[in-house]
Symmetry: C3
Subunit: 246 residues, 3 copies
């Protein structure tokens, strides 16, 4: 049993983030909120979104449902709503259908099979460095690095945070001074290459003004963590480093 109402803006933001990684996903509906976990087909990144029931205007769930969502279809339906609209979702367990109400529009959707979708666990990755900064800094570093290499270097030192990218002759770097960072902890210099396309895909959908925390160590996955829905939803994103023997 699941029935809930949520601001269109909130739902759109969460769905956009998840759809950078997968086409179909499982909404695990618990009594305290909805959680979504997904790994991309190449197993390079893992995303986990936890939406607290307080992110909803109305939330009623007994906690036993898993909804298989086709994200493209879901996004198209969300486009029918304006920023200020609210969306009422109602799950018909018997027929495995989700009905969305947006104003005087009723939209019923067939759901996809969740059988093949696992329940990936969040890895516990150790880290030497922590940096918190506005998402727009990350975006700027990515844009400066485009067309140079497939990998982006993230480096944390006491002297600041750097995004850089190196090709045969070309090189791009964005250096962010400690004074422009919201947080900088560095128990050891960390530097590592990550696939720029994955990093770029997720950074591009983080709303401008959002504070993002990166935790990393040399040669280990980087963890990005940020809040959405005024702190009532949390996104954690793990991205594997470049494999050595490439």
């Amino acid at each position: 049993m699941f029935k809930a109402e949520i601001k269109s803006e909130t739902l759109k933001g969460l769905v956009n983030i998840v759809s950078t990684l997968v086409d179909e996903v499982k909404f695990v509906v618990g009594s305290e909120g909805v959680s979504i976990t997904a790994i991309d087909p190449a197993h390079i990144a893992l995303i986990s979104v936890s939406i607290d029931k307080d992110a909803f205007i109305f939330y009623e769930a007994d906690g036993g449902n898993e909804l298989g969502i086709d994200l493209d279809k879901f996004k198209n339906v969300l486009k029918l709503s304006s920023a200020n609209d609210t969306i009422i979702m109602e799950y018909d367990e018997e027929r495995n259908l989700l009905t969305l109400h947006i104003g005087n529009i009723t939209r019923r959707m067939g759901l996809v099979d969740t059988m093949g979708m696992g329940d990936p666990r969040l890895p516990n990755v150790p880290f030497d460095s922590v940096v918190t900064l506005k998402a727009e800094h990350l975006l700027k570093g990515i844009r400066a690095s485009e067309d140079i290499s497939d990998f982006l270097r993230l480096s944390v030192q006491d002297s600041g945070f750097e995004l850089s990218c190196e090709g045969d002759l070309d090189f791009a770097s964005l250096k962010i001074e400690p004074s422009d960072l919201e947080e900088l902890k560095c128990d050891g210099d960390s530097t590592c290459l990550y696939p720029i396309d994955y990093f770029s895909d997720v950074v591009k959908v983080i709303p401008s003004g959002t504070s993002v925390t990166l935790k990393m160590s040399s040669d280990l996955p980087v963890t990005l963590r940020f809040d959405l829905a005024e702190g009532k939803a949390e996104v954690v994103y793990f991205l594997a480093p470049r494999v050595e023997n490439e």
Copy 2:
């Protein structure tokens, strides 16, 4: 003999409507105005546009001319004008050329042969129900129905007007209460499926704020009727229902 001046905005609106159905069309220039009638190649829809001579700033015609217009070319020429520009059209009967003057631009166009273009008569379709509403309601119903099915259901009852669309599992519906309708007459419930692409093409080019009147009966063509050019041009659009044995 035909010479006329018209506001660019007016002419653009009328041409956009007709070009949803055909690529080439015949402007029948009468002494009291211009009429355009067209049937799409599949004979599923018929459009009739009547432009009163009062829709023109200046109008001089002896009533004997038929101008074969290539609508894409015509639309490209109209794009040279701004909203506040006027367009002077002048027909050279001897050489079958239409010259358009837009400010200090002169644009002469070769016309297409009108021999193969018939003179379709407007059918006299009986109807049980009449609904008048703003075009934006229709547009909203179409957008909610996209990607579900090729057919849109229109239903008129005393309780209101509904646009809906049903697929195997998916379903969309927009219900409009009598209080949001400008007119509702229902001498019998009417419900019928129409091809969504045709309906969508014409609704998308109706200016926002325009009142559209639909007349329909179950299993019969629907008639859409609306005014353009501040009431000095009238558009009537007939759309055939889904054929039963499809």
Copy 3:
């Protein structure tokens, strides 16, 4: 040795103009400024851009460098800057690398080989007529002529300047009265056809409001001359006429 700072807007404008004609170009860095000369592969047009050192915020050059620039790559880097940003360019002669600094972004670029790039001389083309007018008039004439023919006719007479285009049946013309021209000298009527795609490409990137001077004679190349960077950069563009026996 070359180090200079320039407003992003200025550099973007100059690069856009040159890139209508070639993909790679040579920046000839002199002690008094930078000059760029390029001929398109088909030898139909020649462009020459002279940027005075006063167009730069800071300019230091000993005058012996030629920088081979990949214009697409250069334009992508310039996109990292906003209109009010400045760009610091620094040339590493030993490694043949150009480094651009845009705020806290550092972008190093490999340069292309300039060996195959000649030093085209500006031709000395005689002319009977001179016309100066705002670029937007030229743009309007081009837009009216699209899809009619591959050639645009330019005509200067005492009665004004005309851009026209003639197909089999179709014809377009934009006439500009002497009162709408900033300058009109006509020692003999001039009329000539030029390839519309070349003319269009360059006119489309001239900023609106720019005064453009055209010098021409019948059957000879036309010269376009205009200033950018508040008069501190000059562009001269030569375009060959239509070859007779086409």
